[in-house]
Symmetry: D3
Subunit: 266 residues, 6 copies
């Protein structure tokens, strides 16, 4: 069995409970790292993260029982290589809409002969001289399926060797289908697209993950076939709890609750 927790769960037929890091603080990250998630994704696309915050977060997560992965800002070989070298165990890549884009992603994530990842695993290979032999089997490659175009191309994308899982972005997929972006998708067009992706992926032996707003939504989608479920992110956890607390105080004090509160849970 793989030493990577996410792979272990998939090998056992389970579903991964994933957390999402938008707050650029290693301290916030280790709080999340000890909260019971199987894996955590540092979100360099929409999160308030860049390489300068990524590295200390990966270092802090090395002491936590989670698989640490990265959503990169774009399908660009420079940043993908940097994240893997820094120790990310997997890459979620936004806006992979065609087989060519999926192939480019795999190229960036795999060493030769499968791909063209450049060698220099400065943190990933620390203390592991054989990392280069094992990396292609370890690193989890997850292209995002989040447009109508990607759904239309799903069979071709499934045919690209080297993909471990898809990650479905429901907000972008909804917008692309002319629906409003929702945290827990319920529009029939969006759900139909989910099913198209799930069916194609199942035939190809590829796992499928999804971003969700709530545990209830996530559990519903796991029942639909998803095997990797993110619930909101650290920023919305913090904000939601704080708003609950001030609401309870205002109610107890007989005051009106504040309006216009933060809502960062993208």
């Amino acid at each position: 069995m793989s030493s990577i927790r996410v792979r272990q769960i998939w090998q056992q037929g389970g579903a991964v409970v994933n957390g999402w890091l938008a707050i650029p603080s290693p301290f916030a990250a280790e709080l999340m790292g000890r909260a019971g998630f199987d894996s955590l994704v540092i979100d360099m696309q929409h999160g308030v993260q860049d390489y300068a915050s990524l590295v200390p977060i990966l270092q802090a997560l090395d002491a936590c029982p989670v698989t640490a992965m990265v959503r990169v800002p774009w399908n660009e070989p420079g940043i993908i290589g940097k994240c893997l070298d820094a120790g990310a165990k997997g890459i979620i890549c936004p806006m992979v809409n065609s087989a060519a884009e999926a192939e480019a992603l795999v190229q960036s994530c795999r060493y030769p002969p499968r791909g063209s990842r450049s060698f220099g695993p400065i943190r990933a290979g620390m203390g592991r001289p054989t990392y280069w032999k094992e990396a292609n089997d370890e690193v989890i490659v997850m292209p995002m399926i989040e447009t109508a175009q990607a759904v239309a191309n799903i069979e071709a994308i499934c045919a690209v060797p080297g993909i471990d899982a898809f990650y479905v972005g429901p907000a972008d997929l909804a917008l692309s289908l002319g629906c409003p972006p929702k945290g827990d998708a319920d529009d029939p067009k969006v759900l139909a697209a989910f099913d198209t992706v799930l069916a194609a992926a199942k035939r190809a032996g590829i796992q499928v993950g999804l971003h969700n707003a709530t545990p209830e939504g996530a559990l519903r989608q796991i029942a639909r076939g998803f095997t990797f479920a993110t619930i909101a992110n650290d920023a919305s956890f913090l904000s939601a709890r704080a708003i609950e607390v001030t609401g309870a105080m205002r109610k107890g004090l007989g005051q009106a609750a504040a309006s216009g509160a933060a809502r960062p849970g993208y």
Copy 2:
């Protein structure tokens, strides 16, 4: 009426709902700054904060409807001056156990003739040439009462001019009294000490604040006479919500919940 929200609430006889910032991230701070608190305290003593994180947090909070204050790491004039110059509207100072220590705190917070704060309000006075005339009436000075010794000296401390409010630290007070440190105090010895402080402060026209673990605990203490109530901190909000979410997922998936989760809510 004062332009400072915390002073306004006190002038109207109300109780301040205060948040507490331990995560060294301006982004986390602005989420808290939009969650409905009257005021926020950046905790440089036990929080993961120092001057390098303080300044961008104060800058971010300038755009939020809260009074931003600082708990300094110690009763030391250098750091107190730096926090005030950086724009803190108030100072909470730990371990003020005697009138002499309270006088030293006031000296550090007030310009002459009352005190000996050094002049140079680099952010506090930005665009306000008259800041130096108004600062002594604006800056909120809150010594912490958190030892048996401080409670014993409370009358003498109350007699030091220039104190706006006390801030009671229940965990340290409990330890000092031989009780375990609890988030929401319920030990009779600790509650008796609360009452001693509240009574003396009331006679002296001084407000009293308290750190609490939950809204329920905070509301109980406001009923006892406290007029400034902190509920836990941002780190425990994040951690608690994350643990709830993973618990709901584990329950939904029929798995055992993770144990040994984070518990940073000091």
Copy 3:
């Protein structure tokens, strides 16, 4: 009328007085933010800025009466999305030389159906659940016209829907035309190119901005038709004033002025 100050000025037929941030310090930024500019651009291309400095600067500027925008380092969707999510109200993009490059820029800046910006406005949408509906009308898109090729293609570029304004880079345009790079352009070839851009833009209802070295130069160019004028940058302001001061001191002390002083005003 738009809530965005830059759009308001344009709607009223005025010219925007813009400042330029090359110093990677939120404190320097808020000094600029209180100095009377209508808007400020954080320069991630030639300024000493990256995403790590961008975010705290945007946070500090939230408390200042300016429209905060970003010049991105390149026409790349990853960084453009990150800047918009972080709260930039507009994007200035270098080296847009063709209609295809202009279209790519608009794609990166607009949500579907007009573009393909990915959804996740973590700071931009804080407290605004309807941001996604309003963003396409708010975000200011300003491709840079700064090569002979771009001037030659200006009609085709004007025909790309979704461009609010051009931003003319006089130094690169001069180099591209075989002229030396000057802060306040006066070479006839450069001025002729300005006029070509201004005329085409006017026909298309597109505003045109320009980088300048001095207020005098900027006012001359506003008279020519530009409606958005940057004057130098914060680094050259600091440097120029410091050199004036040491010059006055050397003169007063009867000493020779220092030579070889800094000249960072690019």
Copy 4:
């Protein structure tokens, strides 16, 4: 002659033109470092500086023709030692009001046998194995004289061996004497205090420096006997120039100038 530029100027009977760094940016610092100053002081007391910004600024100034010194936040041996180890060539220390406080400062700045500075010049001694023998003759020790009490004790302070120069803080001195804080002092009580300090220092062979608002003010005070003159700081340089520029633009555009602009020049 000393290899330290400030000492050279004093040995030649001249006056030092000093700059002041409040902006926590090494880039801003090197602009100041190339603007013609003899020396620069990183202001850790009222500037937006701490040790985290100090070190890269000292590194950047190593390539500039200036003597780099530090104003520490307080007369505390820990931070004084850290600044000297980091490579500061001199220490300006606030609020030295008695001979005992001056002696404490000298103790912190000098190695045995004169003082008790702890050994470990990690940057100061880089490539110089003999630094420990030379440091006591090199490091410039400048207690601040900025209260009525300090002026009253000036003879006793002068008698403490190991002081190179005083640094007079006119704003704090004015407040201490019941006068408003001004950038260029002109109150007779303040000027009389200046003369008291200058006279005592001259008898003791000690140089005297002063903070000023303008070159004109600085030159007037040099004529009075000061031999080290600071003019404002980097933050006020930036702010003043920016306000001039927007003022010129508003005038040229026929608009009212913005009011309430920044005024950070403390």
Copy 5:
């Protein structure tokens, strides 16, 4: 047996091999953390470290098999508390010259009733609700003995309850005794002082550590009775190896070796 590696070694009668971190980089720290040391000390006194670099280094070391401790910049309760809360397993404190100073150090490091450490172990107690009960037995308290005065007072210092070990600073001790500071001490006066400290400590059941320049020097001193030995620091390791490498290259290329190279090994 204690869960703290340093305590385990002492309980077994062994000597601790300690490394020293002066480079403010969590990446450099984790390289040291995997290099075979029993413990590492982050040097906030003479190292290029402050709280901002301390926290991510402690986070990175959580994943390494070492006991992480801190040398604080001074015997000041604010910073000592912050380091312990951040997760340091021990405190080395400079310049403890008397029993009163040793008592102050113990007060800062121990919770009541032994001491007056303030409660709030934000990282130290993460996931450990019982930390406050166990901390007094875990935290290693090591006052530095590094002056003639401290050696003269060694019996009185030994009598202060709560000291686990002394840490002897040979450079400061040498300077205090009128000897040059050496990495591996060999002056008879210094060695005699070592023996005085070792003898008193042995009678009191206190361990004694020493800073050394080389493994050879460290082994000699362990033979003398020291049970905790630091060898140089990360900065001198890096510098020494780099100078060896360039020396080998210059020799191979038939060139003169560079002189004046770095020597940061304080």
Copy 6:
């Protein structure tokens, strides 16, 4: 003769001894900068570096006798321009596999008319108004030759005007040729590829550099014709020395050496 040390050595027919910076610390960088290297390369591809660490390192190296260059993460005009503007004297660019990719690199590095680098040398041109005229002759452009494809295309790549030197990456080249990645290459296929590159470059008047693991390996390759030799990096220097030291201590103490130590020397 050029003012750039690397160019001087080449003009004199010598070989450059180059160091490699993977640790994101300006302090570590200046230790390397004083260790006897001719040049240093900040590695933004595999090193733990980004723009946020690059700038203070370049500032620190301005005071050291080395030519400071950058390996960029990828052949992308945005980051190449930022590095040059920040003051890098040369660019090493990974994975240049064709003449078209080499041409793109040259375009990014040279001002018109040769290239299309955008003008704004904010640090590179500090105090040098004529920088734009001189930059094309100064900036060192070094595409990496590190795949079988690049070796096959070497003649076409050599024909692209504006290349100063190649930099051969032996690990990636080995992987691309089906060999294991080694620090000091010895596989005949790899050595044959070296010779192909060296021969073509010699005919074209282009220098060739190589990454090596040891001085012995580097000297062997200089004898083969390379004129620029890197030896490992700062991270492996630190790690190797630390492991030597703990090994010597374990041996002296009669203990087994630690296994599984760090090995970051990529």
